[in-house]
């Protein structure tokens, strides 16, 4: 042990640690910390009771429920189907595979407003899919269900793109070993493949979730934006901004920020735990 309790710099033959650390911190402050602290400073113009009132009014509470609930559900759906898509893309060779592979990125690249309008057109009561769902009593556009559809759409690439490389690296021999030991396909997936996949899957889901919480463009078109029913928090913030209630908007922003941060932190811890559980200790 060195006498100093905190040694930031590990001796290394490669130079540049100080420079890169300094630059990284500066850049991080400029891009992330300063704008975020601005959010807190603006919010602090409110008194505590004003703050509590703003962030706990029924309309705000309903919007949190929808935003976080739909994001969470969307992340779960993407976790399952995104894994299946990644699995198919990695394990099977079929005509048009590279096109499908490229299409997965589309929700990344598409302007979110375009996605929102397209989804609305398809799922509205006279749209391609909506017209068949309507008689079944399923209304998607302009309901919370529409929010879920939009958030599922934009979250898909996150899961596929994080799971795909892990599946690619998965040793096929390990699966064969399980099979020769008498494991069924399902047992192999559950006991051999899933433990390897968990960390990546959790990361992908966390990213999809984080993205969904902040999503605005694609949701507002399909949601219908009825207060207390299908209004997401980002829209509520926009509404407040339009009414020049900047402090109120930032107050909601702070709530979103803290909640998102805690959730992402939790998922990161979970992921760290699941990846370190089985290795050196």
């Amino acid at each position: 042990m060195r006498p100093m309790a905190l040694v930031l710099k590990q001796p290394s033959v490669l130079p540049g640690f100080g420079l890169t650390l300094g630059f990284a911190l500066f850049y991080f402050s400029l891009i992330v910390l300063i704008p975020l602290s601005g959010l807190f400073i603006k919010t602090s113009t409110l008194t505590w009771s004003q703050f509590v009132h703003t962030v706990t009014e029924p309309r705000a509470l309903a919007s949190y429920r929808l935003t976080f609930g739909a994001s969470f559900l969307g992340a779960l759906i993407n976790g399952f189907f995104g894994s299946v898509v990644a699995w198919v893309l990695v394990r099977y060779r079929f005509p048009g595979r590279s096109i499908v592979d490229a299409l997965v990125d589309l929700p990344f690249a598409l302007p979110t407003a375009v996605a929102g309008i397209t989804l609305t057109a398809i799922y509205s009561s006279n749209g391609w899919i909506g017209q068949y769902l309507e008689p079944l009593g399923l209304k998607i556009a302009f309901t919370p269900l529409g929010v879920l559809v939009a958030l599922t759409f934009i979250g898909l690439p996150f899961v596929v793109r994080t799971v795909q490389p892990v599946l690619q690296d998965l040793d096929k021999e390990v699966e064969e070993a399980a099979t020769t030991l008498g494991a069924s396909r399902w047992q192999t997936v559950r006991a051999v493949i899933m433990p390897e996949l968990w960390p990546a899957l959790l990361t992908g889901m966390a990213m999809a979730f984080a993205r969904s919480v902040g999503e605005y463009g694609s949701v507002i078109f399909i949601a219908g934006n009825m207060p207390l029913k299908s209004e997401i928090t980002p829209l509520l913030i926009m509404t407040k901004l339009e009414q020049y209630d900047y402090a109120g908007a930032t107050a909601l922003g702070v709530v979103m920020l803290v909640a998102s941060f805690l959730l992402v932190l939790m998922i990161n811890l979970l992921q760290w735990w699941s990846s370190s559980r089985h290795t050196a200790r």
Binding site: A177, T180, A191, P195, E196
Partner: protein, 358 residues
């Protein structure tokens, strides 16, 4: 369990990996499939395990055809070259995997599984490692865990795919002897795939030499080493000096081949190639009736139990390797640049199609 492979052919695309291979393995035998990489030995093993399907031919285990049966019905233990351990499970969990995935009705009680795991870990001498993870073990230990894991399901045959291929020489030597002892204890019909001729000759009851998807020769280690059936086997099992037609007909080397043939090829377009092992060559300081091939000493490698000498033939500038006992080497007092005369004590000649080359 006896294994019968009958006329098995396997193609990957246009490439024929296995070409009409037939092989019988007796119950309790340890067979080595030996050959260079790409000769089809691993594919044959995978077909036996049910991991690949043959394009033609049949596999019979204990007289029953299993060609189209599921892997899980075959009761095989498979050991992979790169261990293929489940890295998120402890050693004990790895070993018990095959028991834990059994259908509930056949699954032993946790106590019994625990006992079995302990017994198997004792067998592979890894009791102390039960709670470790695979990445905390050395290569040799990992492979022993893989073997214990394969044995846990009480397989009727054990298939080992280059099990020691990724280990260093000393460890592989130890493990190969250990495997042989283990086989003598358990008597499970085993097939060992290897490209290491020493490993095959030392561990196996019978050695099957494969080349380009075909079986070149099958026999006891002694048979294949002493009486190779084909030039390939001769070359593959140990060092060998190859004398092509021109020298083969040089009566100085082979009196029995004093036939009137043009150098290099006979009328049918075949040529003869003679193989002599380095230790089957004798040197003499002077020209005698038998030793007439003149050569110069290029290198002497005296380290080791035998002395290896590299000669250069005077006529063809070909390199000739000779192995002498220490005593003989001292008698001859050989030094670099000396001229000696070579004479084979034992040799084997094959007729090969095509013109003399390589």
């Amino acid at each position: 369990m006896s294994i019968q492979v009958e006329h098995v052919t396997k193609r990957f695309g246009t490439f024929t990996v296995l070409n009409d291979v037939s092989l019988h393995v007796q119950t309790g035998e340890l067979i080595a499939l030996l050959g260079p990489s790409g000769c089809g030995k691993t594919t044959l093993l995978r077909i036996l395990a049910g991991l690949e399907r043959p394009d033609e031919g049949k596999i019979l285990l204990h007289g029953n055809e299993v060609t189209d049966r599921q892997i899980t019905d075959r009761r095989v233990g498979f050991v992979f070259q790169h261990y293929a351990l489940f890295r998120h499970m402890t050693v004990a969990e790895n070993v018990s995997f095959g028991l834990r995935v059994l259908p509930k009705a056949q699954r032993p009680s946790p106590d019994k599984i625990q006992k079995k795991v302990n017994d198997l870990l004792a067998l592979v001498q890894l009791q102390a490692m039960a709670d470790r993870y695979p990445n905390q073990l050395s290569g040799g230990q990992r492979q022993r865990v893989a073997l214990a894991r394969a044995l846990a399901v009480e397989p009727k045959m054990l298939l080992l795919d280059e099990p020691f291929g990724a280990l260093d020489t000393k460890v592989r030597k130890e493990l190969r002897r250990w495997l042989r002892r283990l086989h003598d204890e358990l008597h499970i019909t085993s097939i060992l795939v290897t490209h290491d001729q020493e490993e095959a000759l030392e561990a196996a009851d019978r050695v099957v030499v494969m080349h380009q998807g075909r079986i070149e020769q099958a026999g006891t280690p002694e048979e294949v080493y002493e009486h190779p059936a084909t030039p390939f086997v001769y070359r593959f099992l140990g060092d060998v000096n190859v004398f092509h037609g021109r020298i083969a007909h040089d009566e100085t080397v082979h009196e029995e081949m004093e036939r009137e043939l043009p150098p290099g090829a006979d009328s049918s377009g075949e040529h003869e190639v003679t193989f002599v092992r380095p230790h089957d060559l004798e040197l003499s300081p002077t020209r005698t009736t038998t030793a007439q091939l003149e050569a110069t000493v290029r290198f002497v490698i005296a380290a080791g139990s035998r002395v290896r000498i590299e000669l250069m033939s005077k006529d063809s500038s070909q390199t000739i390797e000779v192995e002498l006992t220490k005593e003989r080497y001292r008698e001859l007092k050989l030094r670099q640049g000396d001229v000696v005369f070579v004479h084979p004590k034992q040799q084997q000649t094959f007729r090969m199609p095509g013109p003399s080359s390589g």
